[in-house]
Symmetry: C2
Subunit: 382 residues, 2 copies
């Protein structure tokens, strides 16, 4: 086992009507609130009103930035930070899914610098300070609600890198599974894929950590057991709750303690698809993971076998990959490029070039140029 | 799933030579340090010297309180708090196992009141403030290094209650598995029993929390898999590390999120044995758990069956209990009162009376007076 520091200061408020404590929690940090959200789905769902009620109750002064895209871009981060700086806000309140919360994390550090926020991603500057961030989560998927990482896209450069640091944990995150009832079927499935992928990135990472491996199996098994039931019953509170908590647990540190690092090669592949085709993150991962496993099956057969035995009582690598792929299909997430309308004949070169630009690689399982080509073919295989 | 707040602010520094950062970490909180430890085993092992070196390096002024007993008593807590108050210490540094750290938690809140510290346990006073607590753990067992609970005994009243609150998390805990090399074989086994028992108390608690159940299985399986190997190889770093981290994970919240509460009935039974006979905590639990499961087997057969299936691939309640008991024996922990020299003929009444005084009960599985008598018999059965 590798040395590690287990530290996660986020308070996660989980359950029915936890938003009743949102106003008083925000007020702990000040009166001037920068409210960040997406393209208005929280207005349709009624969540916006609930949040505003909470903020008004404590006399908060609210400055809004809306329009964060589902693959969030750095321009929105800069624009929101500008509003926050101008109005000298005390606290950032993110209401939405991973893209909104990830953007808000970068906003919370960008508030304290004059630079373009992209400078963080290029390590030109380091954050010295962050405004307190409070998150209200509406989508069970990325785990950003209880970790210090953010992924943001730069449309100019075609990059979608991750960034993180101890200042970037939300102080408080509010997770009411009822707020995920309005997530449509496809995005519900993509969220399930995402939480499985996060667990797998940890599992295929560097370093031997047997208890963390067992937590990985636990988290994925929760998704395998209850994901398909949720797909048939989208307004079931308890099923929404199980998947929502599993998504948090998949990337709050638990799956990684005692390892050098996760792998994250598959996320790199997925990010390339998202940058090029605006493919939803989870959809890109259900295409990339089976291909990656097929590439790795002769390189790390024992590791894949162990996974298959624990998850599926499966005894072979091929059977393990087949069953994971079958699960993705079962919940309705794509597993081939053709499923999302990408024609490999015309697109292969473009995907390959973007994988190079994005420096797609794994921290543990190194990927080479020839691997990129194999992966693209495998993402298109029969 | 029940509503919950997942919050654990402790920084857990885990691994080889993490004590190299002890001095600078203590210095974050001030210069005057109340150092609390046990009966001198840290002097024999050389750990005392290492700690003092770290403290001297940062120019700390150290006030010592030694002599905390392995079932810690309130008198030591009061005496240590008196030294801390008199010298106006900035930070409490606990070096030892669960008893030392539990005592230090109460000391850290007692420093700020003039009362007898027992008043906290009787809810006569509430802590308003705590001095920062830093822990250096030398025994993998109780999980106190990453939770806000303490158990302390009152020899005058024969009680051994628990107490806890958000002020009582250690700020930092340092876990170097090398510091557990000197733990003798029997106490190594008792620690393994303790971590299993903590996981089971969560599992048999109130409320349906499927992912937390899976984390329980993961943690116990880690102990079942590596505990016996460690018993044969006490100086194996990696095995010590696995058991040490499992003991932390067993009681840092993870096994409980989404439940109303754990059960803790078995701990109550164990505490009675410890109060009466100074039985090591883990030893009392390996005697009490099989008896408790036998009492419960017709009351909650499905819950026990599910556990047995996950842990042992076992299909019956009796087989599950047999296998757990067999495991405790295998690692050398007692499973009957007679194993620790208690003669039920002469002691039955005394144990029964103490169980009444200590109000032994479970939060989920209620225990009655007749249950006490059955349990005592079962702890003595062939």
């Amino acid at each position: 086992m590798e040395n590690f520091i287990a530290y996660n200061p986020t308070s996660l408020h989980f359950g029915k009507n936890v938003l009743n404590n949102l106003g008083t929690t925000v007020a702990l940090f000040g009166k001037k609130v920068l409210l960040v959200y997406g393209k208005g789905s929280i207005k349709k769902s009624g969540l916006y009103e609930k949040v505003m009620f909470q903020l008004n109750e404590v006399g908060a002064k609210v400055f809004e930035y809306s329009g964060i895209k589902s693959n969030p871009i750095i321009d929105d981060v800069n624009a929101a930070a500008e509003i926050g700086r101008k109005n000298n806000v005390d606290v950032v309140l993110a209401v939405g899914g991973g893209s909104v919360i990830d953007s808000a994390k970068i906003i919370s550090i960008a508030l304290h610098v004059k630079n373009d926020a992209w400078d963080f991603f290029e390590y030109k500057i380091k954050p010295e300070k962050a405004s307190p961030l409070i998150a209200v989560l509406t989508l069970a998927a990325t785990g950003t609600e209880m970790n210090p990482y953010a992924v943001v896209q730069n449309p100019k450069t075609g990059q979608k890198p991750g960034y993180g640091g101890p200042l970037m944990y939300p102080k408080h995150s509010f997770l009411d599974p009822q707020n995920t009832f309005s997530v449509p079927k496809d995005y519900t499935a993509f969220g399930i894929v995402d939480l499985i992928a996060h667990s797998l990135e940890a599992y295929f990472g560097k370093g031997d950590a047997t208890l963390s491996d067992k937590f990985v199996f636990a988290t994925i098994k929760e998704a395998l057991e209850f994901g398909p039931l949720l797909m048939e019953d989208l307004n079931n509170y308890d099923l929404r709750a199980k998947i929502m908590y599993a998504a948090t647990a998949a990337l709050n540190g638990l799956n990684s303690y005692g390892r050098v690092s996760g792998d994250w090669g598959v996320h790199g592949i997925g990010h390339s698809l998202s940058v090029l085709y605006d493919t939803p993150h989870g959809a890109s991962l259900s295409i990339a993971y089976p291909a990656w496993l097929k590439l790795q099956k002769d390189r790390i057969p024992e590791r894949i076998e162990k996974l298959g035995f624990e998850l599926f009582n499966s005894e072979s690598v091929d059977d393990t990959i087949y069953k994971l792929e079958y699960f993705f299909k079962l919940i309705g997430s794509p597993t081939r490029l053709s499923d999302i309308g990408i024609n490999i004949e015309t697109e292969k070169e473009l995907i390959y070039e973007n994988m190079k630009i994005n420096k797609v690689n794994g921290a543990n399982q190194k990927l080479t140029g020839p691997d990129f080509l194999t992966l693209i073919d495998l993402m298109d295989a029969e």
